[in-house]
């Protein structure tokens, strides 16, 4: 693990050293996606458990809607957010367009269906006796749901990982509502698209590789946490 981190960080330092704006964009990509995924997880885990464990009329339709949401193209979400935040819309006066906050909201819309659907899948495939056992042991509803999440943690970790990697690598939302503004809303994905558009393929490859490295590092990190956490 150490050699991997060292080797990668050396490579990254070499690339980033050439241009501080890459570091800037990388940091922005990470914090925007992290924030969006944290929000998606705090909303999506309860919704996912609820859809998996509580029977009510219209549940299947909701499950299907969230699953359909996983397939939303990011350009479509970008378009929706642009409409929401543009000057002539009711939300226009908030002046969210071309701010990092707009990207966070758009990526939340991208991440939420993923977290909800995969959590729902993971929790509903648990042995139904898990809930019953917890109940006979005196668990209140909150504890019972925490038990679901804990039992389904592999699936849920996967849900969050998938959501993060989609957010950190997505281009449509960041470009359309972020606007790729230098030093404010430029992310690694928009920088990669821009450099390639300018014909600077080397720089585009550099930002693209850093993006790839972040996605892979997060995967390796979560993979190892998951393995160590398993008893």
């Amino acid at each position: 693990m150490e050699t991997l981190v060292e080797g990668l960080s050396d490579a990254l330092r070499a690339m980033v050293g050439r241009d501080p704006s890459i570091r800037d964009a990388a940091w922005r990509s990470i914090w925007i996606s992290t924030l969006a995924v944290l929000m998606a997880a705090s909303l999506g885990l309860p919704i996912g458990c609820w859809l998996a464990r509580v029977r009510f009329y219209g549940r299947h339709i909701l499950v299907l809607l969230f699953r359909a949401g996983m397939a939303f193209p990011t350009v479509f979400l970008g378009l929706v957010c642009f409409g929401l935040f543009s000057r002539r819309s009711p939300l226009g006066p908030l002046e969210l367009l071309y701010t990092p906050a707009a990207i966070v909201i758009g990526e939340l819309m991208l991440a939420l269906p993923i977290v909800v659907s995969l959590t729902q899948g993971a929790v509903s495939s648990l042995d139904p006796r898990v809930g019953e056992t917890a109940r006979t042991l005196g668990a209140n509803p909150l504890h019972r749901w925490l038990t679901y999440i804990s039992e389904a943690r592999t699936g849920i970790t996967l849900a969050i990982l998938v959501a993060f990697s989609r957010c950190v690598t997505e281009l449509g939302i960041a470009m359309m509502v972020g606007g790729n503004i230098k030093g404010r809303t430029r992310t690694l994905a928009t920088a990669t698209a821009m450099e390639t558009g300018k014909g600077d393929f080397e720089q585009g490859l550099a930002t693209g590789l850093i993006l790839l490295a972040i996605a892979l590092l997060v995967m390796a990190l979560i993979g190892s946490v998951n393995r160590e956490g398993r008893l």
Partner: protein, 295 residues
């Protein structure tokens, strides 16, 4: 844990190798494939009927090429594939042999292209103009001012300004206008979109900011934005277009004969007349240059 580290490292390395080798082999094998692909049928006809033309996105967006190229294609029984990119990328495509002929508007970069031997012929074609656009309220009060003075006022008041910031011909012109104004384009309200003309205009409109735009894109979009042209039209806002024939030497599949024909076509008197008569919503966009310059 050890196996995990080795596994993940392998994964990272494998992917990196794949990426790098993918890029290299793509650029290496493409010309080879192109050489081997044309069978005896095409070998027999010396001149391919397909021409690859790189233009700037703003040129494509005006629709001028849609009016001119079918005439050329009909006369020469050929097909012109248009690749729209920023000036920088368009010229790079030419230098790399990815296209046969380039139509751009960045005189200094064009001259450098010729000086480096990437091109064998350059012709003035036409010019259009840039506009300094701004919100109708005009907070910096630049209406009818000469461009350099207008920019100086915008900078002095710290008004919002959206720059392309993408190394395009328009961006280069903006920088030279800043240089002429003596002001530094560095304040809180000055942002760089790094995007094309259309998205940058939308952004400036949404932010109620000032922006430098080519007249063609502005005319094509003016119904959807509130921005209006403010600064006075002077020579500093003229935008000359040149056509460059790529040097075939050392490149695998440059269609020089057809590229030369296209250059001839663009500077021919009747084409120049077509350019003069080309309009968007009753507004002329381009002014022929070749007939007037005796270079």
């Amino acid at each position: 844990m050890r196996i995990d580290a080795a596994q993940s490292m392998f994964l990272v390395l494998a992917l990196a190798c794949l990426l790098v080798s993918g890029c290299e082999s793509a650029s290496e094998t493409a010309p080879v494939a192109a050489e081997t692909q044309p069978s005896k049928v095409t070998r027999a006809t010396p001149v391919s009927r397909v021409l690859r033309l790189a233009v700037t996105t703003s040129t494509r967006d005006t629709g001028l090429l849609d009016a001119l190229l079918p005439v050329f294609e009909g006369r020469t029984d050929s097909r012109v594939d248009v690749i729209a990119a920023g000036t920088g990328k368009a010229l790079k495509l030419g230098a790399a042999g990815g296209v046969d002929v380039v139509l751009v508007h960045a005189r200094a970069a064009e001259d450098a292209f010729m000086a480096q031997g990437h091109g064998i012929r350059r012709e003035d074609v036409m010019y259009n103009s840039f506009e300094i656009l701004g919100p109708p309220a005009d907070p910096a009060g630049i209406d009818a001012l000469p461009p350099a003075e207008a920019l100086r006022k915008i900078a002095a008041l710290g008004s919002r300004f959206v720059s392309r910031g993408d190394d395009s011909g328009t961006h280069k012109r903006e920088l030279s206008l800043w240089f002429a104004s003596g002001s530094q384009p560095k304040w809180d309200g000055y942002v760089e979109s790094g995007q094309g003309m259309g998205p940058t205009l939308i952004m400036a409109d949404q932010m109620r900011a000032y922006v430098l735009a080519d007249r063609g894109t502005y005319l094509a979009m003016r119904k959807r934005i509130e921005l209006v042209p403010l600064a006075a039209q002077t020579d500093e806002l003229k935008n000359p277009y040149g056509i460059l024939v790529v040097n075939p030497e050392g490149k695998a599949r440059i269609n020089e004969p057809l590229a030369q024909q296209l250059a001839d076509f663009f500077i021919a008197p009747d084409t120049q007349e077509l350019i003069r008569n080309f309009q968007i919503d009753g507004e002329s966009l381009f002014y022929p240059l070749h007939s007037t310059t005796a270079e």
